[in-house]
Every structure is written in C-alpha cells, then in structure tokens.
C-alpha cells in the first residue's frame, strides 16, 4: 500500500496537524466589562425572600463584587429563616457563608431534619440543599451515606438538572468518600449536549442547565483533583453558549451565568483565554503599537500571561514579516511596536500565542491587522496632445494641493492627457490604491463624468481623454470642466480629492445645453395601465345568421329526398323495447345539448352511462326482434 511508505506517513501526519490547527476554535462570546457590570446590577437588586437573597449575595461574591451592608443581610437572613424547611435553611446557610461575620444559629431539630433529608427517597434538590446546608453550618455528615443516596437517586431521576445537582453535592463531600462513580457522570452527561454548528454546545434544557453543569463539573473536578473529560473545543463551545446571552430573564439564570464565569476563570484545569484589541486593530506611523487585551471570560486580565506573535505574514504577498516576537506588558495592555518591522501598507495575518499557564485554553488566536499609511501625489503632468502629433506637446506640472494656473483647452482634434504617481509618504514606495478616479465636473450644467485612471507596469498612472471618442458621455456639451483627482483606499489615512485644473472641452455637433436633472431618476415614473387582451373581432351578425340558415338548408334537402325515396314509418311497432329505445336515444341527444350548455364531462358521463345502459338494453331487444322478423320474412 502506498500509504505505508515513510514519506506517505509523514505527509499524512502533516496533513492531520494542519487540519487540527485549522479547526482550533476561539471564543466568539464572553463577558465584557459592561456585561459584567450589567450582570452585577441585575444581581444587586433588593431581595424580598431568602431565595433571591441567596442568588444575589452568592452571585455577586462569585463575580468578585462587594456586597453592601453585611449586617443588614445577616439580619434579614435570621428574620426570614424557617428552621423546619430544608430550602430555607439552605439559602440562609449558603448566603451567610458568603458574607463575613454572620452565624446562623442551628438547633438540633434543624440538624435532624437536614440529616433526614439525605436519603434515597428525597428528591435530588432536597439532598443537594441538605448536604450543602450541613456543610455550610459546619455540622457533621456521613459522606459515604450521601454517596449511596446520590447514586440511588441518579438512577431514579435521570435528567440533566438532577445529575448536575449530584455533581455539585459530591463536591461538598469528604475526599475519602468514593466519588469516582459520581465523577463518571460528567463523562456520561457530556454526550447529551447539543452541538450547534460547531460553535455552540448546550443542553436542550437551556442556558441555566448548561451553566450550572459547567460550574458543577469544575467544582467536582477541582475537589478530586482530576481533569474533567472535556476537550478544548468543547470548553470553548460551552463558553460560547453560556455567554452569548447578554440580558438575563431571571435571578436564577443570572446566578448560573455568574457561577459559570467564576468557575471558568478560576479552576485548576481549563482557563479559556480571550484575546481582543481595545480598538480597531490598525497600525500606522502615527500609532505604531499594536495593543491587545488578554483576559479570562470575565474580562479580568490574566496575571502571568506571556503573549507572543508566532508568525505574521502579509495577506497579499504571503511573505512572513515577523516570527516569534514577544509583546510587552504595559499597564495591563500588551503592546508590540509593529512599525519597527517596517511593514508596507496592507493587511497582515497574525497568529498570537498566549503562554505562561498550562491551564490556558484557546490560547492560539488569529488576528487580522491593518497597516495604514499616507499617500502623496507626485509628478502630476498635464498636457494637451494633438492627435496627429504634428504640434509638440506642452506639459505642465502641477503640485498638490495647488491648482493649475491656466486652464487647458482641448477640441475634437486633440487629446487631453494626464500622468502621475502615487507614493507612500513614509517609505517612498509606489502605491496602487483601490480607487483612483478622474472626475470632470461641468460648472454650468452640474454634469459629472468620472473615469478610472489605470497604472502601467511601472506604477505610473496615465489618463487620456479623447475628446471626439468620449463626446457621448459628455452629451457633447462644450464648456469649462473642473478636473478632480480622487484617490482612496482602506489602508490610506488621507484620501485625496484634488481640484487639479480646469479643462475647456470643445465638441462638434453641440446640442443645446440641457441642464442635467439627476433627480428625475428617483421621481415616480408614469403609471402603467394594464391592457387586457382584446377579444378577437367577431364577424357581423348578418353574416353569421346567413351562414346558419345556409347550413340548415341541406337538412331540408335531406327531408325532401327521403320523402321522395319513400322512407316512412309504417314498420314502426309499438313494443315497449322500441319505445324505450327511441326515448333513450332522444334522451341521449338531449343530454348532449345539456352537456354543451350546463354540465361538465364527469356529470355527462355519469348520466350517459345510465341512459346509455337503458338504451342499449332496449335497443338490443328491439334489433333482435327486427332480425327475427327479417329472417322470418325471408
């Protein structure tokens, strides 16, 4: 097999490497500083009950924000606490742990109620809340029993939320307990995530479930010090799903997002990196440094990061400009003086790597950087050339930004010519920007004609106006036209609109100058009336009537002939079958007429079947009788 040669294998290896590199995902969504502020203000609402107090206080703590008035909160907790309700105790206990100096007094009764809730017969939510409350209140707990209860409960409640709560509960248990079985649930739950377009990964139960799952998974993984079985791409996809929603419907949702943000920025295994440029990624002579912000998903700067440009190449020429160049940290922002590498203007593709911590995920980022520059017009030469070249050309040089002193005259025997060069002000390199136009503007009629100036092989722009050839574009209106040069490009910082000179054009066959009305293009057009198809001309009624009478005349002839031949009805026997046959036949002919006037084919066929059947039977009988009579006569 050809693949098994060394070169073949090596090629295959390179190919798979390139493919892996090409598929590296970077986060599309994260919490910017304004998003974090919005989340905080949502969590900072005045709370009315223990549950909202829990979400608010614990959520804010996870975001690293300060909670005001710890004493007031503590008092609120103590006043609202219902010592017989597991939920109430849970909320109060967790919240009290988040603020300092708040001790919730617990009676033996409450402890017993909490311990009783930890069994296979309670719901997962109850077990989770009871265990968390017991831990937060510093009460004793038999971890192995809890593991038993959780395992039993998982088999009964096999949904995402229940398993997530089980993971979260296990993270509060003693490390000596057998948490391996519960840890495996992370791996079992991961395939239930829906992959949307390769960018998002979320549970169909929604954002809250996904965010709480992430929180619980990392919480448990940190607790047992084992890396969660999530691949890098999956982590980034989860980040995209959780942080794509920027306004949250409920406190619970906001709390879950805050928990996930805290888990993803501060766990032992995976920390997604966000690399962004504070403004547009543009570098120029006036602004030579490229600035980058390197943060975690909550827009907090990463303390021990080293940022490095792995390679930077020009998009147009694919030549590599930089390789392995480090960024310097300057007041929280990573900077690199790109202009020192003397890049020509254009777009550059940067591959940036963030190192310094083995936990970093998505730390290779592709960035497109624009280098802009200033352009200047040099060697602008204007001349009027005679077509037969008998008279020598007179070239006038005009310098930007002044205007040519005298106006140029060109009639139908002459061409007006222009040549110039566009150079980079800083490097002196010739440029070919995207837009180089020559606009001629008739000062009296307001008409504008625009041409494109093309560069030749030496990057010298040339423009020639053949007066006779181009007169249709000018509508043959002679007069003074002001000549403008328009230069523009995405990488130019100073686009140019320069009135170079005035040109007097003389056309032959001049029409009366019609003021150009550019606005008629957008005025309503005349309304189109629909013309129905005119019916064909019918012949006059006289002709039709005449021919109708004419057509009926052979019938008359027929009757006369039959009478002459002696056709008669003397043999008509009044047997029932004969009568029925004739009646049926007459009915069929009548049906034909009715078909013409009223019915459609299906109805006619239906009636015809009935009448025809009867007529056939009667006719058969009648003809048989006639046949018998005929044979008898013989």
């Amino acid at each position: 097999m050809a693949f098994v040669t060394r070169d073949g294998l090596f090629g295959l290896f390179l190919f798979s490497l390139a493919l892996a590199g090409a598929q590296a995902l970077t986060p599309a969504h994260y919490l910017s500083l304004s998003d974090v502020a919005r989340l905080q203000s949502l969590l900072n609402q005045q709370f009315t009950d223990l549950e909202s107090a829990y979400y608010s206080v614990v959520g804010l703590t996870k975001l690293g924000a300060t909670v005001h008035d710890h004493e007031g909160v503590c008092r609120f907790l103590k006043s609202q606490l219902d010592p017989t309700d597991v939920n109430s105790v849970f909320f109060a206990a967790e919240t009290s742990q988040a603020i300092s100096g708040c001790e919730i007094p617990v009676s033996n009764e409450t402890r017993d109620i909490l311990l009783a809730a930890v069994s296979e017969d309670s719901t997962m939510t109850q077990i989770h809340r009871a265990v968390s409350a017991l831990r937060s209140l510093g009460l004793a707990l038999a971890s192995q029993e809890v593991v038993g209860a959780l395992t039993g409960r998982i088999s009964k409640e096999d949904n995402v939320m229940a398993i997530t709560l089980a993971l979260q509960t296990a993270a509060r248990l003693s490390k000596q307990a057998e948490l391996g079985g519960i840890l495996e649930e992370i791996e079992d739950l991961t395939p239930r995530l829906d992959d949307l377009g390769g960018i998002y990964l979320q549970f169909e139960e929604g954002l809250e479930a996904t965010a709480l799952f992430v929180t619980a998974a990392y919480s448990l993984s940190d607790h047992v010090d084992m890396e969660p079985p999530l691949k890098e791409d999956q982590v980034i996809q989860l980040v995209n799903s959780i942080f794509s929603k920027k306004s949250w419907d409920s406190l619970a949702e906001a709390f879950s997002v805050a928990s996930a943000a805290a888990a993803l920025s501060n766990n032992r295994f995976h920390v997604p990196v966000i690399v962004s440029a504070p403004g547009p990624a543009t570098v120029s002579h006036s602004q030579p440094t490229l600035q980058l912000l390197v943060t975690d998903v909550m827009s907090q700067p990463l303390a021990m990061a080293n940022v490095l440009v792995e390679s930077a190449y020009a998009v147009a020429s694919k030549s590599v400009i930089l390789s392995q160049a480090p960024f310097t940290l300057n007041d929280g922002v990573f900077e690199l003086n790109f202009m020192s590498s003397k890049p020509t203007s254009g777009y550059y593709q940067f591959t940036v790597a963030v190192t310094g911590d083995t936990r970093l995920v998505a730390n290779h980022v592709e960035l497109k950087v624009k280098v802009s520059t200033e352009v200047s017009v040099t060697s602008m030469d204007l001349s009027v050339v005679d077509k037969d070249q008998s008279i020598g050309t007179k070239t006038t040089r005009v310098d930007y930004p002044s205007k040519g002193k005298s106006s140029f005259t060109a009639d139908s025997h002459q061409n007006f010519a222009m040549s110039f060069q566009l150079v980079d002000t800083n490097t002196g390199v010739e440029l070919t920007p995207h837009q180089t136009f020559v606009k001629l503007h008739n000062q009296k009629t307001g008409q504008e004609v625009v041409f494109v100036a093309e560069p030749d092989s030496k990057s010298v722009y040339k423009f020639e106006l053949d007066t006779a050839e181009r007169k249709s574009e000018f509508n043959s209106i002679s007069g003074t036209y002001s000549l403008h040069l328009i230069v523009g490009d995405a990488t130019l910082e100073n686009p140019i609109l320069w009135n170079v000179a005035d040109v007097v054009l003389k056309f032959v066959d001049e029409e009366a100058p019609v003021a150009v009305q550019p606005k008629t293009l957008y005025m309503p057009k005349p309304e189109i009336q629909h013309l129905f198809r005119e019916p064909e001309k019918k012949p006059s009624t006289v002709v039709s009537n005449t021919f109708t009478a004419l057509i009926l005349s052979p019938l008359l002839l027929l009757l006369i002939l039959w009478l002459k031949l002696g056709a008669n009805m003397s043999n008509f026997s009044f047997t029932p079958s004969t009568v029925l046959f004739h009646a049926g036949h007459a009915a069929m002919l009548g049906l034909m007429y009715v078909y013409w006037t009223h019915l459609n084919m299906f109805q006619t066929l239906k009636y015809l079947a009935i009448i025809g059947g009867l007529t056939f039977l009667a006719g058969n009988r009648m003809l048989a009788q006639k046949a018998v009579k005929r044979i008898e006569k013989k």
């Binding site: 064909e536 031949l565 006719g619 003809l623």
Partner: protein, 113 residues
C-alpha cells in the same frame, strides 16, 4: 371529351337509380346531407375566418366523422357485401353505428366550446 364524361355520368346515374335498393338510397341521401353541411362549414371558414377555431374544428370533424360512420354502415348493410361481413348482421351494424355516433357526439360537444 365532355361528351364521354356526360355519357358516363348519365349511365352511372341510371344504373344507380335502378340497381340500388331503397334502403341504401336512404343512407346515400343522408351521406349527401352530411357532405353538404361539411362543405358549407368549410366555405364559411374560408370566407369569414377561423374565429372561433375550436368551434369550426368540432363542427367540421363532426361532419367528417358522421360521413365516415355513414359510409361504414352503408358498406355493412349492403346485401352485395354479405360475404365479407358474415358475422355482422345489419342490426349489429346499425347498433355499432349508433354507439360510435354517441362517442363522436360526446367528443364534438366537448370541443365545441
């Protein structure tokens, strides 16, 4: 030349009136009627135009079809042709004639518009 044509025609007519049975003459009269009607329709179309074309076609085809069916009937009931139509009695021929006409009329009525 014209003399022989006239004599042929007059001889033909004489033979026709004497030898043809009455029944066939009745059918022949009917065929003549159909022929004239068809010819007049065609004349109208030539003179006045084909509007409405479907009506003209249906009328003309009705005449042509009826003529053909009439000719078939005449052939089948002619006693001189008895040898060719041993299994088909005149009554049977007439019944076929009626049935075919029903179908023809259905088609013509559909098309007449």
């Amino acid at each position: 030349m014209s003399n022989s044509v006239i004599s042929v025609i007059s001889r033909f007519l004489e033979e026709y009136t004497t030898t043809t049975p009455n029944k066939l003459k009745v059918v022949d009269a009917y065929l003549l009627y159909i022929l004239l009607t068809g010819a007049l329709q065609f004349l109208y179309c030539l003179l006045v135009g084909t509007f409405p074309f479907n009506s003209f076609l249906s009328g003309f085809i009705s005449c042509v079809g009826a003529f053909i069916l009439g000719v078939c009937l005449r052939i089948q009931i002619n006693p001189q042709n008895k040898g060719d139509f041993l299994s088909i009695s005149p009554e049977r021929a007439f019944a076929d004639f009626l049935f075919a006409h029903t179908v023809l009329h259905l088609v013509v009525m559909n098309f007449i518009g």
